[in-house]
């Protein structure tokens, strides 16, 4: 059972209202033009949405994970690409600085991120290392009071527009995953370059690019937390991120169902509304059931995270289920719309293209299954 507090309901209403008024009118165009809607981020900053979960002393709103999850859901209902960029900013870039950064790093980087004066990005994946993040090639070699970074990162959300990047690199090759560290990179560091923007199927208003490091000198004070703790750090970041990705899938799924439901009550064929045909009814009933299950799984994981309980199992399952359900539900929404569903004007085709990414980003469905199995193995005596 999910019980949302009055405060959570107010956050939902506010974000829904915001998304309808500020994002809906530009969502189709931003997708077509592959344009990051910077103006939306500026408006979000005024409402402190970009610092939602962080302590007010760092410029945040001090709200909980449930409020954050609700926000992602409501943003994704209208423009999933904006939701994705928002989650990369909050959960991938700002939250590791909040969790592992020194006070000086928080003042210098978390504050402008939380206030929305700067945009954040996170670099982990490389051309040769995706799911197997431990096999990364980017290196960071200490030299005096600096580290010197060399290598490339790929599929980096927000890179085109970001000012602050949290990036992983190998600091001790002999130690494998225990020899990786995270660094805070400023966009104008010499030797750091944002590469070409990718052309994508969906999430087109959320820019994705490569990062290149060529003898990039990073001050030692920009090491995040302790040396060689990077792998553990980003696993923790990604575990939290999974709930957020699942929430975006839920938002897409809910909007797909709404559009399909309304269309089914309107469109007439063979002398009656298509919603009166059992074939359509069964589709809609299945869509609603998957949405209900996704919602329960997502808020269960979010509540556990909020309460400080173990939630890796729940987060993995929620991401796996909700993202695969969203692609399926958006697909069915197109099918119910028929020909018009295939056109951009009706938007359900965008929902489907956007949903597909959620099965891949921040841990593929296959990686989620591996995570879930590992947790299962730990619990084998209690099954």
């Amino acid at each position: 059972m999910i019980h949302f507090s009055e405060e959570h309901e107010m956050v939902r209403n506010m974000v829904r209202d915001f998304a309808q008024k500020e994002m809906a009118p530009i969502a189709i165009e931003a997708d077509e033009q592959e344009r990051f809607p910077k103006e939306t981020f500026q408006k979000m900053a005024e409402l402190i949405l970009l610092g939602l979960p962080f302590d007010p002393k760092y410029g945040g709103a001090g709200m909980d994970i449930i409020a954050y999850t609700i926000t992602l859901e409501e943003l994704a209902r209208v423009c999933a690409a904006t939701a994705l960029s928002y989650s990369a900013h909050v959960s991938l870039a700002a939250s590791p600085i909040d969790m592992f950064g020194t006070e000086a790093q928080k003042q210098k980087y978390l504050v402008p991120l939380a206030k929305g004066e700067k945009i954040g990005s996170f670099g982990l994946t490389e051309p040769g290392s995706g799911s197997d993040a431990g096999s990364m090639k980017t290196t960071a070699v200490p030299e005096g009071d600096h580290y010197v970074l060399n290598g490339s990162k790929m599929w980096i959300t927000n890179a085109e527009v970001a000012d602050i990047f949290v990036v992983a690199a190998v600091t001790d090759k002999s130690k494998g995953t225990r020899g990786i560290s995270n660094f805070i990179i400023e966009r104008d560091f010499a030797g750091f370059e944002v590469g070409k923007k990718e052309k994508k199927l969906g999430m087109r208003a959320s820019p994705t690019s490569m990062l290149h490091f060529t003898d990039c000198r990073v001050p030692k004070e920009n090491l995040l937390g302790e040396e060689n703790q990077g792998f553990k750090q980003f696993l923790k970041v990604l575990n939290g991120g999974r709930v957020g990705i699942a929430a975006q899938a839920l938002g897409i799924a809910k909007e797909s169902l709404k559009r399909a439901m309304l269309y089914a009550q309107e469109r007439e064929q063979f002398g009656k509304k298509i919603g009166e045909f059992q074939g359509i009814q069964f589709k809609l009933a299945d869509m609603a059931t998957k949405i209900k299950a996704s919602e329960l799984m997502i808020y269960d994981a979010a509540e556990k995270k909020q309460a400080g309980l173990p939630y890796i199992h729940e987060a993995g399952m929620a991401k796996l289920f909700a993202t695969e359900a969203a692609t399926d539900i958006a697909n069915q929404a197109i099918q119910i719309h028929g020909g018009v569903g295939y056109t951009k004007e009706f938007e359900v085709e965008r929902f489907w293209r956007d949903a597909k990414l959620l099965e891949i980003g921040e841990g593929t469905s296959e990686v989620q299954r591996i995570v879930i199995y590992r947790e299962l193995l730990k619990e084998i005596d209690r099954l």
Binding site: E6, E7, E9, M10, V11, N13, M14, D17, F18, E46, L47, I48, L49, L52, P56, A61, G62, M63, A67
Partner: protein, 249 residues
């Protein structure tokens, strides 16, 4: 400046209204209630005036317990205080509502009383004028521009085909029309703050309704549309029909 904003909780504009079986009331069971949109303009105007002149904004709402969420929405936008005049239901008679609100407003020593020009549910549009009458204050309604200089009020109001500019002194009652301003969103900080502001509860001093609702009826079902043509040639005929048949232009 000590400002009171009277707000009403109304069904969401997207609500598909269902009537009770006796058709004497709206069935409230599945309704999503919101802060009346015209009252949002009033809250925004009050906040802007507070920003320039200092002072306090007090939200006052009359109705059953559910209206507290509309009060919280106004507090989350940035209002300072709130009073809930508790009644077991929203009276259908605007005169009774105005009487109870006036009793409360008299005690508050307000410089300015703002409210929406009407509520989007029953659309009586009487409250600003009734409050002015009961409080013995000037009342200007359907206001799209408001300037306050010392205790001089200059209000621009919409009338048929023109704008009328009215001046009066404070204290005054102002009814807000769409266009007066662009209401702000409740910020997250506002939402957190609103939670901590106590809502003062008082019984509403309601006189008996003098209006009785005989029945509500659903609007007639829309008939099928008509396609006049698909090229520029059809425009004159379309204009004629819109003017003569639909009578919308």
């Amino acid at each position: 400046m000590n400002i009171a904003v009277c707000v009403k909780q109304t069904p969401d504009t997207e609500t598909r209204v269902k009537l009770t079986d006796d058709q004497k009331a709206v069935n409230e069971s599945d309704i999503n209630f919101i802060l009346n949109p015209y009252d949002e303009f009033a809250v925004e105007e009050a906040l802007k005036l507070r920003e320039t002149n200092g002072g306090e904004v007090t939200i006052i709402s009359l109705g059953p317990d559910r209206v507290k969420s509309a009060i919280r929405s106004a507090l989350a936008m940035g209002a300072d205080k709130a009073i809930h005049l508790v009644a077991d239901k929203n009276p259908s008679d605007p005169n009774a509502v105005a009487g109870a609100l006036a009793e409360e407003l008299k005690t508050g020593n307000y410089d300015l009383i703002l409210l929406g020009k009407q509520a989007i549910d029953d659309d009586h549009a009487q409250l600003p004028s009734l409050l002015g009458e009961k409080l013995g204050l000037p009342a200007v309604t359907v206001v799209v521009k408001l300037d306050i200089n010392g205790d001089q009020v200059t209000a621009e109001r919409e009338i048929d085909g023109a704008h009328e500019i009215v001046t009066c002194n404070l204290p005054a009652v102002i009814g807000a029309q769409r266009g007066l301003n662009e209401p702000r969103y409740a910020s997250l900080k506002g939402i957190m703050k609103a939670k901590k502001i106590p809502i003062e509860e008082k019984p509403a001093a309601l006189a008996a309704d003098q209006l009785e609702i005989e029945s509500f009826n659903y609007p007639p079902e829309k008939s099928a549309g008509k396609i006049v043509g698909d090229s520029a040639d059809a425009v004159p005929e379309l204009l004629r029909l819109l003017h003569e048949e639909a009578k919308v232009i």
